[in-house]
Amino acid sequence: MPVLEKTTEIQPKTSKRKRTNWKKHLVHLFLLPALLFYVWFQVYPIFSAFLNSFFEWNGLRRGEFIGLGNFVRLFTEAPFEETFYRALGHNVIFFIGTVLAKLIVAFLLALLINSKIRGKEFFKTVLFLPKLLSVIVVGFLFSLILNPTYGALNTFLRFIGLEELARPWLGDPNTALYTIILVNGWYGLGFAVLIFLAGLQAIPSEIYDAAKMDGASGFTMLMKMTIPLAMPSIMVMTILTFIGAFETFELIFAMQGSQAGPYFSTDVLATFFYRLAFGSVDGGESIGLGSALAVVLFLMISSATAILLFFFKRKEYEQ
């Protein structure tokens, strides 16, 4: 039966070609899961947040397109406007306080660890330890330590005779925000030290020998050589601190609740955002406002990062 023979001869050929083609495309399965998860649960939600901010919302249902309406309300309408600017101010204070603490204290500690001392590994390990705790644990731990009556800090102050310094650290609107900034500094100090240390260790030691021969003092070397050469790590730290300061939420939530008390004295944009998005009882139209606030925060973080990068890049070239 010649016909049958012919088909059996051809069939394997075509099916083989089909199979190799099919197999060739199989290789994209390596990329597919990562791409799928990333697009579905990272990229799309960010886009969606932008889109949502231009619409009116009734509960979880999207209403009409209202352009920049949500933004206008957020910036100009009471009570949102007052809360927004107050929270923004607190974010700025949070950033300045944290970045000063890190640039001064953490940089000094990094210089010390980088100098001729013993036990470098010990100091690195110990300073880094707080970073392993959950931010929420840090917040709760310090709210116990800072408790006005039974807390360890005030007990200690009374013990050494400095009773007049003991105060309700978190209960007083004048001290609450600064106290939280210090706690945040405690949590992130070791990480900053390690980043600076990596920057310092990248500086070749020969240039210091040359400068010493020319009679440069320790202070001159620090200002003219060490700090400019460590600038990339200082830049990285400043940007990370900025992002962290404008995203800060957990610490304040743990220590002061979502109302960011006392009297909103520790309220930041992220706690305001949380109340808008999830805190309201009526659930009314807050999704639109919440999305608008998220977009504002997003733009602030990304543009500030770009500006800082640009600024430091130019500084580097000027050297």
Partner: protein, 273 residues
């Protein structure tokens, strides 16, 4: 003489800061062995006896055991899928030369800078549509998605340092792409897996924000969310509070003491590069 004095001052400053870093953690652990009365009357003193009573109480009274189990389950699954999915993608991006690969890599790198907290409302709506609100699965999905950019970034950098001769010779021996990945690449990439795994393990174990938003039932709580519940319900029983904080922190601290080099390297690598 002044040099000597300077040297002492260095140690003094470093020791002072080391003390400031360690003492709150020490206080947390030591207080977890005290009775409530002991904590309130002498907060700074050492515990009079090493009693595990608080831990037993936390375990029985507040079902802390299920929080621990939920945390272990979510962390293990998330880290496993992050490592698996991202290493496959990085293998694809570094070992095949499709013309879109540079763009895909750049696309993933953008993810390193996305502040996902701000996309929480759309994420909430996605989970609502998928009927995944109030499930541990929703957390695993979000951690995996969030972990991919950093993992791909590290793995891609690692693969570029691996010579391609090995996988070429394996191909000549008749291995297909998946076998090359599984038999050649995976065993070689253990250091990179450890780095990425540690970073995400800490992140997932300690995360509070996603559980706060996506979990409603108390029995599904992970440890950080369980701590929140505990602080709401037993706010006067400080012995239980300190014990719960210690349970939450101790696994990571112990792991850190065993492998501090890998921890430090992992957690700072994202920032330096």
């Amino acid at each position: 003489m002044t040099a000597r004095f300077g040297q002492y001052a260095k140690y003094l400053i470093l020791l002072l800061f080391s003390f400031l870093m360690l003492y709150p953690v020490f206080l947390m652990i030591s207080s977890s062995f005290k009775s409530n009365l002991e904590i309130l009357t002498s907060p700074l003193g050492l515990p009079q006896s090493l009693s595990f009573e608080n831990y037993v109480m936390v375990w029985e009274k507040v079902s802390f055991g299920s929080y621990v189990w939920n945390s272990v389950y979510v962390s293990a699954l998330s880290v496993f899928f992050i490592l698996f999915i991202s290493s496959l993608a990085a293998f694809y991006l570094s070992r095949f030369s499709f013309r879109w690969n540079p763009f895909v890599l750049f696309f993933f790198m953008i993810g390193l800078m996305l502040p996902m907290k701000l996309a929480i409302l759309p994420l909430y709506m996605i989970m609502l549509q998928l009927n995944l609100l109030d499930t541990l699965t929703s957390l695993v999905i979000l951690y995996v998605a969030g972990g991919i950019p950093f993992a791909v970034f590290v793995f891609y950098g690692f693969f570029r340092t691996l010579p391609t001769e090995l996988d070429q010779s394996a191909r000549l021996d008749g291995c297909n792409s998946f076998q090359v990945y599984y038999k050649i690449i995976l065993p070689l990439m253990k250091p990179a897996l450890a780095t990425v795994g540690i970073v995400h393990l800490i992140g997932v174990w300690n995360d509070f924000f996603y559980p706060l938003i996506f979990l409603k039932s108390e029995e599904l709580s992970t440890i950080p969310l369980g701590v929140l519940t505990l602080f709401g319900e037993y706010d006067t029983e400080w012995n239980l509070l300190f014990a719960s904080l210690t349970i939450s922190s101790l696994p990571m601290i112990v792991a850190f003491l065993f492998a501090s080099k890998q921890f430090i390297e992992g957690l700072t690598s994202g920032a330096i590069k």
